[in-house]
């Protein structure tokens, strides 16, 4: 349950404060700084792409500068078509990150109520059986098929990723609702005459949302990887619109020749975004544990 010897919140202090210590080897202060950086990356990258002036047009190939290494003009070099890697890497954030976040939000909105709803009764059982059958299907194929099914724009990618991720939330929220339903304080709430709706909101949801939130952040990180994988495979948003996955795919042939920059920079950007989301997930988890481990 809890970890011994950890400082508890002193009585006057609210338990809901920002986490002061992380569970890994980072100290309190650096953990907070790290979280701040992570949030800055996730929020800042798309904003940068939207509002900041890019040094080159990310869509216009320069036939005089094909595959040149990073230099003062092309900070990240140019790719095989002569397009500026730096501008495209930033530009891709405008698409990749919002798609990942939107897909997560969508799966959250669909999955959580389903899970809370599926705790009992025939309909609940039926929902779970469908989810189980889904789990047996190859995920990437489902995603590809659903994107093909719908055409291949950004919205379609969002829908496809949401379809893949939603079962996770159904399971998770169902599991925590099931556990909490038998919690003693829920019984106590029933004993003082709380209505089922009041119990659901004031007692069950209040204690379940934290876990879901952590999972949501992790899912967003995962979605980012899946989107990149799909784009890497050539499914999803059409070229020449830059996405990290597609850029990496373009860069592979150069990579084999030893011209690493066209693939390396979008990869680094993507990994940075994924890592940031993971850091945020860790921070959220810590915050929740702060409440839970004092039990």
């Amino acid at each position: 349950m809890s970890i011994q010897g950890l400082p508890r919140t002193s009585p006057g202090l609210r338990v809901t404060g920002w986490p002061r210590r992380s569970r890994n080897f980072l100290t309190n202060k650096s953990s907070t700084v790290l979280t701040a950086i992570a949030v800055a990356v996730i929020v800042g990258l798309p904003l940068l792409a939207l509002f900041a002036p890019l040094p080159h047009d990310p869509f216009r190939p320069d036939t005089n500068a094909i595959g040149i290494a990073p230099n003062g003009i092309h900070w990240f070099g140019t790719d095989g078509n002569g397009m500026d890697v730096f501008s495209r890497t930033i530009e891709a954030a405008k698409l990749d990150l919002p798609i990942a976040l939107a897909a997560t939000a969508l799966s959250l909105v669909v999955g959580v109520p389903l899970g809370l709803f599926a705790t009992s009764g025939r309909i609940g059982d039926a929902i779970m059986r469908v989810i189980d059958a889904f789990a047996a299907l190859p995920i990437i194929v489902i995603a590809v098929v659903s994107i093909k099914l719908m055409g291949g724009g950004a919205t379609d990618v969002i829908l496809a990723i949401a379809v893949v991720a939603a079962p996770r939330f159904v399971r998770l929220s169902r599991a925590s609702a099931m556990t909490l339903r038998s919690a003693r304080y829920v019984e106590a709430a029933a004993a003082i005459g709380c209505s089922p709706v009041r119990i659901a909101f004031n007692h069950i949801f209040r204690n379940a949302y934290g876990v879901v939130l952590v999972q949501a952040t992790l899912t967003a990180a995962n979605a980012l990887g899946t989107i990149a994988a799909l784009n890497f495979l050539g499914v999803g948003v059409k070229p020449p619109t830059p996405t990290w996955g597609a850029m990496i795919n373009d860069g592979v042939s150069m990579l084999i020749r030893g011209e690493w920059w066209a693939a390396a920079f979008p990869t680094a950007a993507m990994l940075l975004a994924i890592a940031s989301l993971n850091v945020i997930a860790g921070a959220v988890e810590n915050k929740i544990e702060r409440v839970e481990r004092v039990r």
Binding site: A133, I139, V141, K148, A228, A229, F232, I248, A275, N278
Partner: protein, 357 residues
């Protein structure tokens, strides 16, 4: 016992049927006309109609559905719209190619994950554990294709140890005579050891990719599971009885066995469905790349076949696993074998144990 097995089989059959329906429904709704895709955009309507009737696409939906189920049951998964080769035989030739790197890759993951996870659990809170945790977070943040590309860059481009990612056989290798259809198996049968070793050297990077990629989640599971058990009264009592560290470890392992087996099957399913990625990076002639191709082209029978086979494989895996876990654990084994006969009272052993605990 027999009743239990029958019930398991019945459940599996029911799920399989649902899967067939799902794969048919999913794919039948694909937009776009396969005939157009096949003939190109300038095909005449007459040509399209001819192709459609050839492919049986002019029949009503329900008729196609029942045809599909009938064919599937008899083992006929249809023919590719594009190459015309039967889907079932394509899968049979390609699946071994996929398994060549997938199974050793997963075993490698098991080895690494188990070793590192155990080590981290035993050194909980110390440098080794922290390194492990950090390593896992890095690996978990890395999508499979990035890992594959990274390995390729290091071992092929920089160190020149690994061969080029150009498939299973190079042009200089002589393909063995066809016996089973699977090149690797045929090479073994024909005794062409140079070909076999060439295949193995090309499989090395995919194996390492899979091994590293799945070692992270596996190791994490091992560590969490062991940590829980190692702090349990059961292990404390074993230690208090003076059991040797290896004996204690075996006790701990017997407790997390079920969870690890479950995880292994889950990983296998995940690896199969992610095969498309690894295979497209290494141009591997496996079942994943082939199915991806089919999906991209809208080759309906190929997609259906792949979804069905992969789904069925993981389903059967789940059911087998469930049965195995139930039978391996004496607590649940008794429930299954002699239902309604308890050694004591009315409560089940599990309940009795938990209420007392």
């Amino acid at each position: 016992m027999i009743r239990y097995i029958i019930s398991r089989i019945a459940i599996a059959a029911l799920l399989l049927f649902g899967l067939v329906t799902l794969s048919f429904g999913l794919v039948s709704l694909l937009p776009g006309d396969p005939a157009v895709a096949l003939l190109g955009e300038y095909a005449t309507p007459a040509d399209i109609a001819r192709i459609n009737s050839q492919l049986g696409l002019d029949k009503p939906f329900w008729e196609r559905y029942f045809d599909y189920i009938g064919n599937t049951v008899s083992g006929d998964l249809g023919k590719s719209f594009f190459t015309g080769s039967p889907v079932s035989s394509e899968i049979l030739t390609r699946l071994p190619n996929t398994l060549i790197y997938l199974v050793p890759g997963l075993l490698l993951a098991l080895l690494i994950g188990m070793g590192m996870g155990t080590w981290a659990a035993y050194r909980y809170g110390r440098a080794a554990d922290k390194t492990f945790t950090a390593g896992v977070s890095v690996l978990m943040a890395m999508p499979e294709f990035v890992l594959a590309l990274l390995l390729l860059f290091i071992f092929y481009q920089q160190l020149h140890i690994a061969p080029a990612p150009l498939g299973m056989l190079s042009s200089v290798d002589i393909p063995p005579p066809r016996v089973t259809g699977s090149v690797a198996l045929d090479a073994v049968i024909a005794g062409k050891w140079t070909t076999v070793s060439s295949i193995l050297s090309r499989a090395a990077l995919p194996i390492v990719t899979i091994g590293l990629f799945f070692a992270a989640p596996f190791g994490k599971t091992v560590r969490t599971g062991l940590l829980q058990v190692l702090n349990s009264p059961q292990i404390e009592f074993a230690r208090a009885c003076g059991l040797r560290p290896m004996q204690v470890f075996r006790y701990a392992l017997s407790d997390v066995r079920g969870a690890l087996m479950t995880y292994m099957v889950l990983l296998f399913a995940a690896a199969l469905s992610g095969a498309a990625i690894v295979e497209s990076v290494f141009a591997w002639p496996g079942v994943g790349g082939w199915s991806l191709d089919g999906v991209l082209k809208g080759d309906v029978p190929v997609i259906q076949g792949f979804v069905l086979i992969m789904g069925a494989t993981s389903l059967i895996g789940y059911v087998l696993l469930d049965t195995l876990i139930t039978l391996l654990d004496p607590r649940t084994r008794n429930t299954v074998l002699h239902a309604k006969k308890w050694h004591f009272g009315l409560r089940s052993p599990r309940q009795a144990a938990t209420t007392r605990a």
